[in-house]
C-alpha cells in the first residue's frame, strides 16, 4: 500500500530530514513510526500527504508515484488518506458534527448519506451525543476523537496519525490506540507516529524506528508479521 524507495528529504535550509529510507507497508497493515523528536517522523508523514516532495527517491501509495502526481491531483490523493494530528486541527467556528462532515462535504456526498456516515463515525468514537457542541467545549481526549472521526468518516484506505496521543494521559492514550486497532481490523492500513515507546511496545505491531532521518530499525513487536489477528 505504501512503499518508500531510497527516499531522502533535505529541506531548503540544508537540514537532512530523511536519509535513504526504504520500507513497505502492506495493504491492511498497521505500523508505528517512532524515534526522538526531530528524527523525521513528521517529515515522513508530510511526504505521504504530499505536503512536501522528496528530494530523492520515490514514494508509491497504492501504486501511484507521488513524485509524479500533478498538482491538481493532490486533493484527490489526500481524500484517500485520513490524517489525525497531534493538535487536532479542528475548526472552532462550527459544531463537532460539521467538523466531521467536512471531508464528505468536500467530496460532494449527498446530505442524507453524509449525515448517516458522520453519525456512524461519531458513534464509533463515542461522541454521538456531543455532535451539536463546539469542539472548544470538549476535553483534549474528546477533541482528538473528533479528529479521528473526521479522519475515518470517508472510509480512507490509509490512516496516518502524527503523535495522536501526545497531549493525553496514559489511559486516554491507550483508548485512542484501541480505536486505531479497531479501524485496522476492518482493513485500514495505518501508520502512526509516536515517541511514546512504553505505549507502543505494549501493542503488538510493527515498529519502524527513525534516527536522524535514517531508518535504523524495522521490527515486529511480539508475534510474527502475519499475525495481524483481531485483539480482544
Amino acid at each position: 500500500m505504501i512503499r518508500f524507495d531510497n527516499v531522502s528529504m533535505r529541506y531548503p535550509g540544508g537540514h537532512q530530514a530523511l536519509n535513504q529510507v526504504n520500507f513497505e507497508l502492506a495493504d491492511g497493515e498497521m505500523a508505528f513510526l517512532t524515534g526522538r523528536s526531530g528524527a523525521g517522523k513528521s517529515t515522513l508523514l508530510k511526504l505521504l500527504m504530499v505536503m512536501e516532495k522528496p528530494s530523492q527517491g520515490q514514494i508509491l501509495v497504492d501504486g501511484r508515484n507521488l513524485g509524479r502526481l500533478p498538482r491538481q491531483q493532490i486533493p484527490f490523493h489526500r481524500r484517500r488518506i485520513g490524517v489525525v494530528f497531534q493538535d487536532h486541527q479542528l475548526l472552532f467556528d462550527r459544531s463537532v458534527f460539521d467538523n466531521v462532515a467536512l471531508p464528505l462535504q468536500i467530496e460532494g456526498y449527498p446530505k442524507h448519506e453524509a449525515d448517516r456516515r458522520v453519525r456512524a463515525a461519531l458513534d464509533k468514537v463515542g461522541l454521538l451525543r456531543k455532535e451539536k457542541m463546539n469542539p472548544q467545549q470538549l476535553s483534549g481526549g474528546e477533541q482528538q476523537r473528533v479528529g479521528i472521526a473526521r479522519a475515518v468518516v470517508n472510509r480512507p484506505q490509509i490512516l496516518l496519525a502524527d503523535e495522536p496521543t501526545g497531549n493525553l494521559d496514559p489511559e486516554l492514550a491507550a483508548e485512542i490506540m484501541q480505536l486505531f486497532e479497531q479501524f485496522n481490523q476492518v482493513g485500514v492500513s495505518m501508520l502512526i507516529a509516536s515517541h511514546d515507546l512504553s505505549l507502543i511496545t505494549r501493542l503488538q505491531h510493527r515498529i519502524l524506528t527513525l534516527d536522524q532521518g535514517s531508518l535504523v530499525q524495522d521490527a515486529w513487536q511480539g508475534a510474527e508479521p502475519a499475525a495481524r489477528r483481531p485483539r480482544p
Binding site: Q72, R78, R79, Q89, Q105, G108
Partner: protein
C-alpha cells in the same frame, strides 16, 4: 495471508450525472448560505464594505441616469421649438401663403404659419411694450415671417431643414435656435463619455474593494483553508465560499445604490415635475426601471465575484498546509 475486508468506501461512492449535479447544487446552496451567515455575523464590518461599494456604484449609475433623463428632455424640448423664416420685402402675402402650403407638405414640418409685417407689428406692440418706438418710425421695419414648428428632429435633421429653408427663393434668413440644441447634444455626448469612463474606473474600484476585503477574510480564515486542503479540498473548494462572499458584497452594494437612486428620484420628482410643467413639457423623470434595476444588481454581484476571484487567485495558492 488472509486479507481482511478492505475499506473501499471512498471508491464505492460512484456517481451518476444526476447525483453529481444534485450534490453540486447542494454544495453551492450550502456554501452560499454559510457565506451569507458569515457576513451577517459581523454586521457592522459588512455594512461598511457594502456602503463603500454602494457609493462607488451610485455615482456613475446616477450620472448615467441623469444623462438619460437630459437626453430625453432635450428631445422633448426640441419637439416644441420653433423656426422663424424671415422673408425678403419683395415677397407678397400671396406668395408667402403659397410658400407656407409648400412647407407644410414637408415631412419634417409639423405646422407653418405666415405672419405678415402688419401682424408682426401688432404682436410687437402688444407683447414688447415698445409700441411707441415702432410708432415713431415712418414705415414698418418688420419683414414677413413664416413661423415653423418642426417635427422632433435630431441635430443632423435640424441642419438639413435649416439649409433647405435657406435655399428657398424669397427667404432672407432663417433663425433656428439650433446652436443650443447642438451644444446640449454635444455636452450630453461628452458627459456620456465621461460617465462611461467613471463607470469603468469605479467598477474597477468596486472589484478592488471587494478583492481587498476578501484578502482580509482569507487571512482570517487561514486555519480553515489549511484544514480544508488537508482533507482533500481542491482549490475550487477552498475558493467557493470567498467567491460567494464577494458576490454578496457586490449584490449588497448594488441594492444600496438602487435604494439611494430611488430616494434621489423621490426627492427630485416633485420639483422637476413642477419645473417641466412651467416649460409646458409633459416629460417625466425616468428611474432605473425593472430592467435597469436587474442590470444593476447583476452587475454588482458579478463585480464582487470578480474582485473575489482576483484576490483568491493571488492569495489562496500561498496558503498550503505545512
Amino acid at each position: 495471508m488472509s486479507k481482511p475486508r478492505r475499506a473501499t468506501g471512498a471508491q464505492q461512492h460512484r456517481r451518476t450525472l444526476r447525483s453529481t449535479l444534485q450534490s453540486a447544487a447542494q454544495t453551492h446552496w450550502r456554501t452560499a448560505r454559510q457565506s451569507l451567515q458569515r457576513l451577517l455575523q459581523t454586521p457592522v464590518a459588512t455594512a461598511m464594505t457594502v456602503a463603500v461599494i454602494g457609493i462607488a456604484l451610485v455615482l456613475p449609475v446616477g450620472l448615467l441616469l441623469t444623462l438619460d433623463n437630459l437626453r430625453g428632455l432635450s428631445g422633448n424640448l426640441g419637439g416644441v421649438s420653433q423656426v422663424s423664416v424671415y422673408l425678403e420685402d419683395s415677397v407678397s402675402a400671396a406668395q408667402a401663403e403659397t410658400l407656407v402650403q409648400e412647407l407644410e407638405q414637408r415631412e419634417d414640418v409639423q405646422q407653418a404659419r405666415y405672419v405678415s409685417p402688419e401682424e408682426g407689428a401688432e404682436e410687437f406692440i402688444a407683447y414688447s411694450g415698445l409700441g411707441d418706438v415702432l410708432a415713431a418710425l415712418s414705415e414698418n421695419p418688420l419683414p414677413g415671417v413664416i413661423v415653423l414648428t418642426p417635427q422632433l428632429l435630431d441635430a443632423a435633421g435640424a441642419q438639413t431643414l435649416l439649409s433647405d429653408l435657406e435655399g428657398l427663393p424669397g427667404v432672407q434668413s432663417v433663425q433656428l435656435d439650433l446652436a443650443w440644441v447642438e451644444r446640449l447634444q454635444q455636452l450630453l455626448t461628452l458627459a456620456g463619455r465621461a460617465a462611461a469612463g467613471l463607470l469603468l474606473v469605479l467598477c474597477l474600484g468596486v472589484a478592488f474593494i471587494t478583492g481587498n476585503t476578501i484578502r482580509l477574510a482569507i487571512e482570517g480564515r487561514r486555519a480553515e483553508i489549511v484544514v480544508v486542503k488537508l482533507v482533500g479540498g481542491t482549490d475550487a473548494d477552498v475558493a467557493l465560499p470567498f467567491l460567494y462572499c464577494g458576490a454578496f458584497y457586490g449584490l449588497g452594494g448594488a441594492i444600496g445604490a438602487g435604494l439611494l437612486l430611488w430616494l434621489g428620484m423621490l426627492l427630485l420628482q416633485g420639483p422637476a415635475q413642477t419645473l417641466l410643467t412651467l416649460y409646458g413639457s409633459d416629460f417625466r423623470l425616468q428611474g432605473l426601471g425593472p430592467g435597469g434595476g436587474a442590470l444593476l444588481l447583476a452587475g454588482g454581484s458579478v463585480l464582487g465575484w470578480l474582485g473575489a476571484l482576483l484576490s483568491v487567485r493571488q492569495h489562496l495558492a500561498a496558503i498550503e498546509p505545512r
